[in-house]
Symmetry: C2
Subunit: 410 residues, 2 copies
């Protein structure tokens, strides 16, 4: 969304960017915030800071609750409506619980900074509670972490929690051994990382098992409760459950009243125009864009970013010079999943990199993809330092216990 | 508190450290977190990380709700009681509203990381709302910030908000001019920084006025509402009010049932033993310790830290070798207040440093007082970078608007 706005703004076109967050988030490192390796500010940049040089771009921190297509306007929860000549919807995705919305409160997912901080606090508080509690069974329950879904997020989260328990927190406690924590990664399908090759799946499974993660394949979660999981016919006591199994497009797409696919995305033409509309576009996780193989493009940050830049440029030329909109073509930059410290899998078409070299390539590329020079410099330094020391500086629980004031109340 | 536990732990004595927070906070830089110049993790260190090398020290994240003096035990809200042979109370201070507890929700103070983050979000959201609102009067109200109390915290907070508005955010918005924000610093007494010399007070006042802060002296706040202040007989519309006027000792001190002073501190002997007790000690902001001039020592981090280290050592020798407890003597390391970018006042007895040299000395000393090498390195780099660029990386609003999930609910 930032990319489209920037390109349009560069062409001097008048843009209003409406976002519920005041920051642009670097999603691929979110699991590191959730597991206390990085701070929120390391992976987020204020949107205004990215766009302030473009005088024709206005940023509004607001929540879209409705679209009035008849009058071409966007209705804000805060009151007021914003008229548009052209509308770009790039509101991303949220967690999808396959119709079990009641699971959401027991098995939070990882999409936003709030998610990441709340997962971090849940993990750290589980160990703090286990240290206080004296019954062994309850200590074991608190130190059982279930991650549902064996895609990249599930693999990264379980590997990172395992390292937190085995290395970072190992000697911090007196009544418990954090390294005895049980980390379960539950995948309904026959292998981890289904979007990768079987070799990559095997590698991830082997590495995670070596880190002490219980990888459970062909295992469907039947039900989720506050402190238990029903897996097949087993009833398992858990301390925390995290959701990495499904996504659903942001509900804003549905406001168009047009056809959506089974994860809630609207269908877009090859120029990113929403099917059946003249001046409404969609991109990223809310858009079902048919790739060269006929299948919809995957929900990756690189897809959204390329689409945003393409649409911004193409639309600017269309509006300025009357040129026709150009078709978007996705240039896959490969898929990566991180499997614990210094191990990863990377695949682009037939090219594969597995193990330490993949991790190293990923680290270099991702640090340099982060927005802003300061972040690059700092994140590099932090990584280097933490890589050498196993230290996690972001290991803070920000609320005091029983703090009466809610964090969200201002 | 960490200091006392560390000294006792070094002597191999068995220590249970009970804290509501899992981190040690570097208070003097808290206002920088509140004004988005530093991240929470920059000024906080996990307590377990500080103490993990001492096997006889156990840390419990828990909240003390009562003391059972008859059975020598501390009652935890989470359930259970901890028996003690010797009890050290170092629970610090909270905001004091001079009997007007109803002001607390309208005029938050700055003592914890939660406070700092919540003040930061309130400041940033005020500008975001003003950008969205179209009525000039409402924009002016939202961009009016009142700070009550002209001590070091009030001076630092008002100077830092002024800089945020005048420099960092200056060009980020389209409908408002952040540099037109009105920042009021309200002090009941005749001068700012009453604990310093009149020359320092004058310097602070001049500098703040130059930054555009409205300094109102001899002005008592009569009443505080959600969006207004009653000052003398003036009714002023404000967007945000922050409290820097008074502190009160933590309520844990009152659980001893012994005499307390007017801010709720217990009186301690010169060996830090609470008057009338044999095995209960108090230090820092909960202890009224008569200084060499007969007046109680001020509520400064350096007082608490020196007392903690002294008590830990003295008590260890007492318990190990049967030596008598030694009297504590405070070595004042001087008082500092920061007045905006690169200006400060520093006073130790008759020695005074005012302006840029004081700021420079302060910056060097404080960065190196921060716990942990990594933080030193990073905070130095961040400061250098931000000093050169006026950038504030921590300018994030972490909650999404209308996020249904509370930050504190795990």
């Amino acid at each position: 969304m930032g990319s489209a706005a920037r390109e349009l703004g560069k062409a001097g076109l008048s843009v209003t960017l409406i976002d519920r967050c005041n920051h642009h988030l670097f999603q691929p490192l979110l699991y590191q915030v959730a597991t206390a390796a990085l701070s929120a500010t390391d992976i987020a940049e204020p949107i205004r800071k990215i766009l302030w040089r473009l005088p024709s771009v206005q940023v509004l921190l607001a929540d879209v609750v409705d679209l009035d297509l008849a009058s071409s306007s966007v209705i804000l929860r805060e009151g007021g409506a914003i008229h548009y000549d052209n509308l770009v919807i790039a509101t991303g995705a949220t967690h999808g619980y396959f119709g079990h919305q009641e699971w959401a409160s027991y098995a939070p997912g990882l999409k936003t900074l709030v998610d990441a901080r709340s997962i971090r606090e849940q993990i750290l508080l589980a160990f703090e509670r286990a240290e206080r509690v004296l019954e062994t069974a309850e200590q074991e329950r608190l130190m059982t972490f279930a991650i549902v879904g064996g895609g990249p997020t599930g693999v990264e989260l379980s590997g990172s929690i395992a390292e937190l328990a085995r290395f970072t927190l190992a000697r911090d406690f007196r009544n418990i051994r954090p390294s005895a924590a049980k980390i379960m990664l539950i995948e309904a399908g026959p292998r981890l990382l289904p979007a990768f090759s079987p070799r990559a799946s095997n590698f991830a499974e082997t590495r995670l098992r070596r880190l002490g993660v219980d990888v459970e394949l062909n295992t469907a979660v039947q039900d989720i409760g506050p402190d238990w999981l029903l897996i097949g016919d087993r009833h398992v006591k858990v301390g925390s459950t995290f959701w990495a199994a499904g996504v659903a497009a942001s509900p804003v797409a549905r406001l168009l009243g047009t056809e959506i696919d089974k994860v809630g995305r609207v269908f877009v033409e090859n120029d990113l125009k929403v099917r059946g509309f003249d001046n409404v576009f969609a991109l990223g996780d809310v858009a079902n864009f048919a790739g060269s193989d006929g299948k919809p493009l995957p929900g990756l940050a690189q897809v959204a970013k390329q689409q945003g830049r393409h649409l911004g440029r193409s639309l600017a030329r269309h509006l300025r010079q009357g040129e026709p909109l150009e078709p978007f073509r996705y240039r896959g930059r490969g898929n990566t999943a991180i499997v614990g410290r210094h191990a990863a899998v990377f695949e682009q078409g037939r090219f594969r990199l597995i193990g330490w070299p993949a991790w190293f390539a990923w680290a270099i590329i991702h640090v340099y993809l982060l927005v802003g020079f300061q972040h690059r410099m700092q994140v590099s330094l932090q990584w280097l330092w933490r890589y050498l020391t196993y230290e996690r500086g972001a290991r803070l629980i920000s609320h005091e216990l029983h703090e009466p004031k809610s964090f969200n109340d201002n």
